[in-house]
Symmetry: none
């Protein structure tokens, strides 16, 4: 099954891995812009030139890292979404926040790199898309089933995704105040509450008075 690797190929793979790991390390600690190829090779204990055997440049390594890391993160963040809707949602949001808290450095770097090249921007949007699409799909099912009011599911999916994502970023990565005084569980509960009402709410546009 596994292609038989020669010793050379193993060596090479190991070097690539070493560089990738070093790159991740350096990116996380110094940020995207401040990271230099020299810093990466130094951390990887390889010659400077070795880097260019495996990557075209900084953007290139970062791109590969994004694909690996971000995909892994969005995956990790996806709870099963079965059983009681509220609980399922809460679990998912809690998972997402957990990932953010655990991989803050990566996330911060990703958010930074995003601005440094159209390629990385596109890459990020690509990695993020499935996450949003999943929300969209779920909302569409609910609307189709008549469980929730008519709504523009695509905009809603992006908006709700953005809510959690940007809240998580500003609080868990940038460390804004509320996060400090509340547990992840409390925050997750609040976010779920908002999301849940935003979706299942029956308040019509003319105001709260008509609420059942």
């Amino acid at each position: 099954m596994a292609p038989p690797l020669t010793k050379r190929q193993q060596q090479a793979a190991a070097t690539a891995e070493q560089l990738l790991a070093a790159a991740r390390e350096v990116f996380v600690t110094r940020g995207y812009v401040a990271t230099t190829v020299g810093a990466i090779t130094e951390a990887a204990n390889t010659a400077h030139g070795t880097f260019y055997l495996y990557f075209r440049n900084k953007e290139d390594v970062f791109g590969r890292l994004i694909k690996d890391v971000a995909a892994e993160m969005y995956r990790e963040a996806q709870a099963p979404w079965t059983g009681d809707p509220f609980e399922a949602l809460e679990l998912a949001i809690r998972g997402y926040l957990g990932v953010f808290a655990a991989h803050g450095g990566v996330w911060r770097c990703l958010m930074e790199g995003l601005h440094q090249s159209p390629v990385l921007e596109a890459m990020w949007l690509d990695v993020r898309r499935p996450f949003i699409d999943r929300i969209d799909h779920n909302l569409a099912s609910l609307v189709a089933a008549g469980s929730v009011r008519e709504l523009d599911t695509t905009v809603a999916a992006h908006a709700l995704g953005s809510m959690v994502e940007w809240f998580a970023f500003t609080h868990l990565v940038l460390g804004m105040p509320p996060a400090e005084r509340r547990s992840l569980d409390e925050v997750a509960h609040s976010l779920t509450d908002l999301w849940f009402n935003a979706v299942y709410g029956r308040v019509d546009a003319k105001g709260p008075r008509s609420t059942s």
Copy 2:
């Protein structure tokens, strides 16, 4: 009251203004990282060295710009919030989106610069705070008045603010798809609908199952 300015001081003030304007221009078109002091002085038609008479470095000018520009933008984005709650909210959100659409370059640069130094990060959070605080305050009033259910108004304020902010950024600045097929008004309406229900919703956690 105002101390009479000497000719020199007027000159100096004019030069500073010139540099500031040029910096804004350059930051917006090239982005934070790609902007160089040389590009700014060139755009300002001043000598390279003149820059350092007024600013310590790039971070310094940018900091001053943030204070001016971002504050102005968050201010511009604030509708009066009177009359019918839904309409007031919609107006506010619509205003916010409008500002984003109009000043995309500034926002993009702001979001980018944010990641380039702790000082700028703090500055951005400072500029942003009043915007969130205002939401928090409004929510708190509603809760106090019993108009809406009990909720963690601070977390909610951050979450809702994040929702609009990050949605606006990804769509109006990065140009994600939904924005292309919907008018600002439509998007504003959808966001308002979500926000409104999130706040005024009465769906309790155990509820939706019974609504289906």
Copy 3:
């Protein structure tokens, strides 16, 4: 007579040939300086290191190529030089121009490489020498036979050789204007006319004034 080659030796010879052919190809298309060992091995479909099994470095391969290629070209350019002197000369010159036109890339590279190392310079001069010597020899015969005036045949040989060579290079390789509007035959005729008169001319230094 020929020592029977082992399988290995055949292999090796084939590889060397492959590299040589690839080198020629690459040199012609990229020029001497721009050619890298990597480009050669890539074109030859061999490992990078294999190159060093057969050549010391770029200069080395190029040297061998010169010997093969340039000698072949100078040979190709030599018409038999029998029969009517003018026609023989014209044929020879026409042949020379033809070779230049056909192998422009090789010449260009040769002329370039020439400047990159004393060794290559000497090599080129060596390859070129027979070509000049032949002219010298022919001129000497003519002088000895009294068919042409006394002249420094060696200088004349170099001068006339240079005339054709450099004209051919500037026009057929660098593409200077006259070449574009004249056929090779026309140019060859003009050159032959000049050469012929230069050699067979009887105009003495004091003469032309009386011809006017």
Copy 4:
């Protein structure tokens, strides 16, 4: 008349001159390809970065040098071309050879650089053109006056120019044998003799027999 230069401008001009002189020195001794910006600034006793204040890169300095130096050389090589035609021609050729002998290093470098970029190639052709044009023009006058037979003056001008140029290069710069045993005067005389006969010759194409 002279624009009054401030001290600063004088300084700057001096630096530029320093760099230019250093560049010339380095180019001549190391050749075009082997010359590095670092070597130039070192020779000029300036910081590495200073170079880029005055030139875009190596090609750029070289281009400016060509314009200065080569033009100067072609100019120096132009004798008045009056009085006795043979003597005038001999003088011109002698001057040309003298220039080559004196500025061999520059010429060698020029011939080398020529191959390293289309821009430099074009530049060389431009500098050279007037030299060829002048010959063409003179030949055309002679033909018009009936002093010489009908001939393709343009091709002849290029050919004769090439003869002297390439002979000079191979002998005075590359140091081919004949130059070592003959004085510049002797060589000039031989070249003039060839040129003169090539132009004023009346030998018709069918061979020496019909010569007057």
